[in-house]
Symmetry: C2
Subunit: 425 residues, 2 copies
């Protein structure tokens, strides 16, 4: 599988931010080879990783290339994506797509066609960038009956709401800043209005509940009306305002909608800040499971595209033996760093006589072993008239800290070293 | 694939809590059939779902049954699990196991043997119960280079630390209560000492970093020495004490260890409470991804076993066509509940004249539309001498709330209905 002739050939449609990420990730791939890259404008300035000789503006030549087995569609939007994907499926090519509009709007048609033509459509990258939610629902969690999906599915609006909370500034100001920084699109309508979240939610709900959903049936309401005042009051009341997508399976209906909502500050989703996304799913076997991570961006989305390609490679090549994804390929043993060589901060709690000079003596021993103290607090008298000293150190090698502790224990300065706990900053 | 003759036959080794869950989940499975269930004691009282005629104490008869294609090993421990799994692999049977001791201790031997015999070993259930982390690392996230895994990997210790925090009680008292309630094993040594977490961490690190790890190289330190005092001080300092497993890929070594640690209260893992588990992974493409869910228990663990079985079924049956896990099987459209029929609590913010009687008039209109008020707050005068009234309602059908809002807007009682935001309790 090392000669190029034997590699699985793929064709890319579209080479914007995510497409460029995919090309970078697939460089020197052992099994996959990008044969053609379709772009509408060949003269646009592109990252050097995009080889000019692979570029073509003749998108149909890619989907009609008999050598190409897999089409990676990253054009976005419905036109000409839909038409090209349909033709590619009819040409018996597997599809990997990052296009949520396409799947949410025309999924039914495409999946029916794929079934007829014995090919797979993989679309992990269409929902929540790098968060591995779609394949997980289809595979490892497949035995569950799902009752609820609840998520923060749009990074732009979550970034705006987070900034409004942290800085007390208005929606309009946040949006403008987000656009200036490139976090929000020049036309952010789909993000702000909840439509983008509705696309993603309808895809997830359709998989989880096993029913098709017409995207226009999904209610969406945006964050335009949220004021700093609403946010301040919600915090006072113990809530946080998030743009939430929620889908619940009821007896004969699905309650599915996207709108701003008060959610409890203590809930896991309330801790999803900035441009991150979070998805909570509730299944009869697993209970609640929450995934939190990067919901967009060049590399997180490319990660999901590459993951789908890996799964197609496994499918295409595994007919004769085990699925290569589940074969252990490493046989050497790792070198393990001993705990004494690790570097940490430390929390140290000492019980001492409540008398002058102890702090100085402890500090001297720490200093001798190059343990630098961050904060030191002496806390009141204990019932036995001893005092507690608690110390947070700066980063130091474990063996130095342990040497200092050993010396303190051997000395008569303290009654007891009561605890030493490593601190992750 | 509906006649039993054509179903894929599986043999279960062990039928304790998780095994019983697996039998329940596989009841009436369209493609899988449990042919034999091995148990060491046939007379033990069992759930009625375990059919007596499938039970045998002759475990070898299961792994030698030529009809059985997949062995599900849920005996736990190393003996006789190792020996039986080895023989099953030599008999060309695929393995699904929930046994972390076995994989962490003898994984190298078993994976080598599986490769030689062209079979797969699936072990999603061996780490963190229902959290889908192993297959996700191997499949969708496969294109990442991972640099860090950090997790709360043991529910018993996390439950104890959570209770110590919430109730200020001692480690000893928490442990005793956990044992009385059945949350902790009669011999909790492996949980408390961090050994259980070390098993799980070494499995995850081995997959993520692509290197084998000798379980005895993994440093583990338990929670026995943590006092309510340590917990109180950590909270004061902005940290939370958790039993953390951490593995970091360094240039030529792996830093891998399990010990109590101070982690920032604001970090996602700090929000993992009770018997839940949480895993954070850091990859070059996805950045940080966190999964939080049930780390143990009959059904979460059975979910992972069933997920692995689904993947083996897909593998066994997909040689001739697409992987059935990625074929859309539903073709009907869901009935969607209109937003007007949904039931929510609501936050309502009104701007009113700062004069007597307004609250009463608002309350009357809400009452007329059967909207019950939970809390109502009138907040000071605004610069234009108007006042703000904020209301949290009890649960009510959206159409009733909207009717009340419409009536308030039409009346002259308030200057403006400034916002209406749904509240998820």
């Amino acid at each position: 599988m090392t000669s190029n002739d034997k590699k699985i050939k793929i064709g890319l449609l579209g080479v914007g931010t995510v497409g460029t990420g995919v090309v970078k990730v697939l460089t020197n791939h052992p099994v996959l080879e990008i044969k053609k890259i379709g772009a509408r404008d060949l003269n646009k300035k592109r990252d050097a990783v995009i080889k000019k000789e692979l570029l073509t503006s003749d998108l149909k030549s890619i989907i009609n290339d008999p050598e190409i087995e897999v089409i990676v569609e990253m054009l976005g939007g419905l036109n000409p994506s839909r038409e090209l994907v349909i033709e590619a499926i009819k040409n018996k090519k597997h599809i990997v797509t990052a296009n949520k509009d396409l799947i949410a709007t025309h999924g039914a048609e495409l999946f029916d066609l794929a079934r007829e033509n014995n090919v797979q459509i993989q679309f992990e990258a269409s929902v929540c960038g790098g968060i591995p939610i779609i394949n997980t629902l289809k595979q490892t969690l497949n035995a569950n009956r799902f009752s609820k999906i609840m998520g923060i599915l749009n990074g732009t609006t979550n970034y705006i709401l987070s900034e409004m909370l942290n800085r007390g500034i208005s929606y309009e100001q946040c949006l403008k800043e987000a656009q200036d920084k490139g976090y929000a699109e020049p036309d952010p309508t789909n993000d702000i209005s909840g439509k983008d979240s509705a696309y993603k939610l309808s895809i997830l709900a359709s998989i989880a509940f096993g029913e098709r959903i017409k995207i226009n049936d999904v209610y969406n309401e945006g964050i335009e009306k949220i004021t700093p005042n609403d946010i301040a009051i919600s915090e006072d009341l113990g809530y946080r305002i998030k743009l939430v997508g929620i889908a619940k399976k009821e007896e004969d209906k699905i309650d599915i909608r996207v709108h701003p909502a008060f959610i409890k500050k203590t809930s896991t989703l309330a801790s999803v800040f900035g441009a991150n996304n979070g998805v909570l799913i509730e299944g009869n076997l697993i209970g609640e499971l929450t995934l939190i991570g990067a919901g967009a961006g060049e590399f997180p989305t490319a990660s999901s595209v590459a993951g789908d390609l890996n799964m197609l490679v496994a499918h295409i090549t595994s007919a004769k033996g085990p699925n290569p994804q589940f074969v252990c390929k490493h046989t050497h043993y790792a070198k393990i760093k001993p705990i004494s060589e690790t570097t940490n901060s430390y929390f140290v709690r000492l019980r001492t006589d409540d008398k002058a000079g102890v702090v100085g003596q402890v500090g001297t021993i720490f200093g001798k072993h190059e343990v630098s103290i961050n904060t030191l607090t002496q806390r009141g008298s204990n019932p036995d008239s001893s005092a507690s000293i608690t110390i947070l150190t700066h980063l130091v090698k474990e063996e130095k800290l342990q040497a200092a502790i050993k010396e303190i224990e051997k000395s008569n300065i303290v009654k007891q070293v009561e605890n030493v706990i490593r601190v992750f900053e």
